[in-house]
């Protein structure tokens, strides 16, 4: 009896405090948006009407994506410092959805209907696409997503993310494991996020279709707070030569710790871009784990390397105080594409003319991505089909592939 009460109390309590958080944050977000509003137009062309762009982001809550919009803002601030687009400043409005569907829906309506933004750019949210994809289609608003996360980011006519995302990214990672590392027994360990399951299944099916190969072993039931040891042992017992897994950055550390504890050093591991952080390398380096075993996928030019391609990005981010991460690359890239689109428009810049320009955008090349970005009028968009892979070596990342691993189409 007491136990049941306890369980209910626990459930109620956890829920309560999360909600609390969400409420506090909405206030924070509004303040932030206001700050942006007042700060942006302080440029030369004060009397010309600003071009309004919006973004919906998960800035507070358990999993946050603050870098993409911050990076996009840095790009637009520079454009404004240099005189704007034909003299018109860009007003970039950043909204927080607190990873809450209602918050995401309200944020989009505020931006589209109240503010009248011409387009969305640089958004990075846990659920924004799922909530707002249909709304954008209905309103004729297009979004260059900075970080697409939920499956609908890659299945909407009005959203085209610059990143590969966790699904096609998983296909590329499997492809890298079987074709580039040329391992025989490829296995999959996947965290169980019910809403993402069909997209993950499709991602694996795409790899099967491309290579004609089968997974030697798979387990789709990992929970975020599991002890991963039994799964690692299962993979070893199944004779896996390489395991491809999803997860947050901390999970890759967990996997490598488990491999180290079990003394397994002949099984390669491939993770998604979420594992590609400087902290993962440093932490594993200090533990002496995962060296030569862990590979991660970089959907953009790898930011930990001293690549000349990233010079402008690096300088701008450092100047604006934005952390150097893949997310910041996505935001920078989305904003850069948007600036080029805006500059290419003859005549007045309105929601209609921007939409038209995006629908005509095909084959946009940029050295930070390995396959051209496009928007166009397809019913779904996932243009970034290329990744570079890094291997952990001691406490640093080194290139595992010099060239982009590009997923063949078809």
């Amino acid at each position: 009896m007491l136990v049941t009460v306890m369980a209910i109390v626990v459930a109620a309590c956890t829920g309560g405090s999360v909600e609390d958080d969400a409420q506090t944050t909405t206030t924070v977000a509004t303040t932030q948006a206001t700050v942006t509003t007042t700060a942006a137009p302080a440029t030369t062309a004060a009397d010309l009407e600003p071009i309004k762009l919006g973004s919906v982001n998960s800035l507070t809550g358990q999993i946050v994506f603050p870098e993409a919009s911050a990076a996009a803002k840095a790009v637009f601030d520079r454009v404004n410092r240099e005189g704007g687009i034909d003299g018109r400043p860009i007003e970039y409005l950043i909204e927080d959805d607190a990873a809450d569907p209602a918050g995401a829906a309200q944020a989009a309506r505020r931006l589209v209907e109240d503010e009248g933004v011409v387009a969305m750019v640089g958004s990075a949210s846990l659920l924004e696409c799922a909530v707002n994809g249909a709304y954008y289609a209905e309103q004729g608003v297009y979004s260059i997503q900075g970080t697409g996360v939920d499956p609908l980011c890659f299945a909407s006519s009005n959203i085209s993310p610059v990143n590969t995302g966790p699904y096609l990214g998983y296909t590329v990672s499997l492809y890298f494991a079987s074709e580039v590392l040329a391992k025989e027994n490829v296995c999959a360990l996947i965290f169980d996020i019910p809403d993402f399951r069909p997209a993950m299944d499709a991602a694996i099916q795409q790899w099967r279709d491309l290579t004609g190969k089968e997974l030697a072993f798979s387990n789709f039931t990992l929970q975020f707070t599991d002890d991963v040891t039994p799964f690692v042992l299962q993979a070893r017992d199944a004779g896996c030569e390489v395991v491809v897994s999803n997860g947050l950055d901390v999970h890759y550390i967990g996997f490598m710790q488990a491999l180290q504890a079990q003394g397994i050093d002949d099984m390669a591991w491939v993770g998604l871009t979420s594992g590609y952080t400087a902290e993962v390398a440093e932490t594993l380096g200090s533990m002496g784990a995962g060296s030569g075993i862990l590979h991660v996928n970089s959907e953009f030019e790898p930011f930990t390397l001293d690549s000349p391609v990233l010079e402008d990005w690096r300088n701008l981010m450092t100047e604006a105080g934005v952390p150097l991460t893949s997310f910041a690359e996505g935001g920078y890239l989305a904003a850069t594409i948007m600036v080029d689109v805006l500059e290419g428009i003859d005549g007045p810049i309105t929601r209609e003319s921007v939409s038209e320009a995006l629908l005509a955008l095909e084959g946009y090349e940029h050295p930070m991505i390995g396959s051209p970005y496009s928007f166009g009028d397809a019913p779904a968009h996932n243009p970034n089909r290329a990744s570079k892979f890094l291997r952990l070596s001691g406490g640093t990342w080194e290139l595992a592939t010099d060239d982009w691993v590009v997923l063949p189409t078809g």
């Binding site: 306890m6 309590c13 599991d226 039994p230 042992l233 299962q234 947050l248 901390v250 710790q257």
Partner: protein, 285 residues
């Protein structure tokens, strides 16, 4: 297969340690302590924060256990001072309030993002045939053995142990006989807090943790203690290891793998039904 069973020993040991802590506070002070695991989690997170701030690893972990002991001792003071004469149900309900309080304060202090905890004995590995025993496993199982031995000896062989059992059954009578009630009760709480801190610290490096998921370790601990009838230390230990084993083995069976985290609930439910089987019959008559 055997490896998986061995891997479950770390979690099992931690469940058993937490379960034994529950049994101890129940037997000796007559409180079903719902705040047990959250106190341990608070200590562990203090250790993590200290470690991240540059305190040495060993010192940080000891600090964490000490904080858990202090916090739990503080709860003991509250219990001894204001709730000594209350019924078990009242005192246990007070610990639910404390559980929520510590949970919320911890949320504010530590946030809800998962953290990485370095392994306790990263280099230690014992190979027995094809089976690997890790440092965490050895610590966990060793901790259980030491605790079980100490408890058995303390309760059966020392005067204080016998006095404590008397206190739990008849607090007023014990006090009239000159037993320093408060000191003893607070000491029991502090020790049980230290054990909780150690248990959570042992289990923390083996999984990806956030503060709340560590606090929820109370569920398997309660299930284990319930199977021990809140009386028998030995049965609680066996139950702790058993629950962890069932959880991990569940991961190997695709049909049930997704639902294996509800194992403690099923155990609790089954145990309650089994224990109530006669009473239902009696009342129905």
């Amino acid at each position: 297969m055997i490896d998986t069973a061995i891997a479950s020993l770390t979690s099992g040991g931690a469940y058993a340690l937490l379960g034994v802590g529950l049994v101890l506070t129940y037997r000796m002070t007559g409180v079903l302590n719902f705040a047990h695991a959250v106190v341990g989690a608070f200590g562990t997170y203090t250790a993590i924060v200290a470690f991240e701030a540059g305190v040495g690893y060993g010192a940080a972990m000891i600090l964490g256990v000490a904080v858990a002991a202090l916090l739990s001792g503080g709860i003991g003071v509250v219990m001894a001072r204001w709730f000594a004469e209350e019924a078990t149900i009242v005192r246990s309900t007070v610990t639910i309030a404390i559980f929520l309080g510590v949970l919320v304060v911890g949320f504010r202090l530590f946030g809800d993002t998962p953290r990485v905890v370095p392994a306790l004995l990263p280099g230690v590995r014992l190979e027995v045939g094809t089976v690997t025993l890790t440092g965490s496993t050895l610590l966990s199982v060793g901790g259980v053995a030491v605790l079980a031995g100490a408890v058995a000896w303390f309760l059966a062989k020392t005067r204080t142990g016998i006095v404590l059992r008397a206190v739990s059954e008849r607090p007023t009578t014990a006090r009239l006989l000159g037993v320093p009630l408060r000191t003893l009760v607070v000491a029991v709480w502090a020790v049980s807090g230290a054990v909780a801190g150690a248990a959570v610290t042992i289990i923390a490096p083996t999984r990806t943790n956030d503060y709340a998921s560590l606090a929820i370790l109370i569920l398997p601990a309660l299930a284990a203690a319930l199977l021990g009838g809140f009386q028998r230390v030995g049965a609680t230990i066996v139950a702790g290891f058993g629950i962890a084993l069932v959880e991990l083995m569940g991961a190997r069976i695709p049909a049930v793998a997704r639902y294996r985290t509800v194992v403690p609930f099923l155990v609790i439910l089954a145990a309650l039904l089994w224990m109530q089987r006669k009473e239902v019959w009696d009342e129905a008559r």
